[in-house]
């Protein structure tokens, strides 16, 4: 079953066509990586999917419903969560308060009263329970990245979009992170923008390669590794 699909999705910034994706389909339950050189339009592309940016033209469907015109917060309500490339947390709030907000949102959307349990579980999953009462802003960078993911998890998303989650993490932290995403993928679809190829190869079931705003190739990690177009895009022709 296709969870998310995009057709003829275009985003222009003035004269620059930043994204021009003819067809993109993401089956439910998959871990998909989006890779591509800097400036390939990856972040812009997922920003269109989650509603941070409106597309210039094209359609996006989520669970067989057209969501192209829905504002971001309504897409979140339907189950699309986005974690930011540049860590975007509430530095002056405690870790618990940071995850409480999305937990409350999900609880009120579901009509349940389990916000506190959800928040605690989200911190537990990323291993930050011990620090729940500490201020987010004073945490080490790696912990802030994990908090960012926990905020996404507290929304219990159907689709979790991670924008370069391992950027700036140490080797050991990346190991933990890979295990975390495998765990998350048990009950959510994951769309991952990632530069670190070992992370991509360890996690992704399929890979979409973008270049100049377009989809250059799509396939399994082995197919992508063998693809000469991709090699050219990355290594220069």
């Amino acid at each position: 079953m296709t969870l998310l699909s995009a057709r003829n999705l275009v985003k222009d910034f003035g004269g620059l066509r930043a994204v021009n994706v003819e067809a993109f389909d993401l089956p439910a339950g998959e871990i998909r990586a989006v890779i591509g050189p800097n400036g390939a339009g990856k972040t812009t592309f997922v920003s269109l999917l989650c509603g941070r940016l409106p597309p210039s033209s094209g359609t996006i469907r989520f669970e067989d419903t057209d969501i192209t015109r829905l504002p971001a917060h309504e897409r979140v309500a339907r189950g699309i969560a986005y974690t930011f490339q540049i860590t975007s947390i509430y530095p002056n709030l405690s870790l618990l308060d940071n995850v409480m907000l999305p937990a409350q949102r999900r609880a009120s959307l579901n009509g349940t009263a389990d916000a506190a349990a959800r928040a605690a579980e989200a911190l537990e999953r990323v291993g930050l329970t011990d620090r729940a009462q500490e201020m987010a802003g004073v945490q080490a960078y790696g912990h802030q990245r994990l908090l960012e993911v926990a905020m996404g998890l507290a929304l219990s998303p159907k689709l979790l979009i991670l924008d370069e989650p391992t950027q700036g993490l140490a080797e050991g932290e990346i190991e933990t992170f890979i295990a975390l995403i495998r765990d998350v993928a048990q009950d959510a679809t994951v769309l991952l923008i990632e530069h670190n190829m070992s992370v991509v190869m360890a996690l992704a079931e399929r890979i979409t390669v973008m270049n100049f705003g377009e989809v250059l190739a799509e396939g399994t990690p082995d197919e992508i590794r063998a693809n000469t177009d991709v090699q050219t895009a990355y290594l220069g022709g």
Binding site: A72, H73, S88, Y90, M100, L101, M151, L155
Partner: protein, 313 residues
Amino acid sequence: MKPDRALLLHLAVIAALFAMQYVLPAYHQGNLARILVLATFATGYNILFGYTGLLSLGHALFFAAGMYGAGMTMRFLDWPALAAFPAGIVAATLLAGMIGALALRTTGVAFMIVTLMFAQAGYLTILYFNEFTRGDEGFVIVQATRNILGFDLSNDDVRFVAAWLIFSVGLLVALAVVRSRMGRVLVAIRENEERTRMLGFDPFPYKLSAVALSGAYAGAAGAAYALLFGSVGASFASIQYSIEPLLFVLLGGTGVVLGPLVGAIVIFYLIEYAREVTTAYLIVVGVALVLLILFARKGVLGSLRRRTDGWLP
């Protein structure tokens, strides 16, 4: 159960304020009544500016809307004070809701400018309809009509208790709001609006509620001012009354519920004493603000909160 020390502190402050009427000489009791009304105004303003992060320069208009909402219904419709007071609150809340809906299309400096322009337009409108509003010289509400349930609001003691009551209700409501689910979202919007949107919250209704709620406080304060002190006029819609709540909040502590009270007391007496020394008394306020920015940027209570593990709401 752990005692709710934040609630206890606020109740203690309310009790202490009540006791002031037995301690203070009549002159200062009158001052404190005025301070409490202005502090109510600033307490609402703090919800918008301190907790939601929206800096309005137009709240004088909502103060005046409360004042005229009460004053005009008494003057032209002969409404009793008991009905005129809520009329003032309703007028201010509706006006704040309408202006908020328009002004919130902007953010940051543009929001300041748009709210300022609305307030100036309102001020000039009051003067334009001078025939009805007596905007230029103001009008006096007949003393005999200034009573509620038999209590004469022009009586010093009654006036003090009325001002204390309005402030106390306002303070407790503000405490409840900032500690509620909505309060958390307001702070989240202040801290990081884009993030809050991506957590599934639509910021607009929250921001609009904050504008309307602060408008209701301004209206309650304006209506109370009209009833307690008997005067209504356009000068209360002037820029000075938009700046005052901002000053009170900045000095007392932005985003601290008790901040506006502290700010109002300090600035009121600062001006009071500076006036005796010099006609350029505003320079004293200016110096105080410069010192504040240099040494206690979070205001008196905001700086104190940093030393108390942040439990002060």
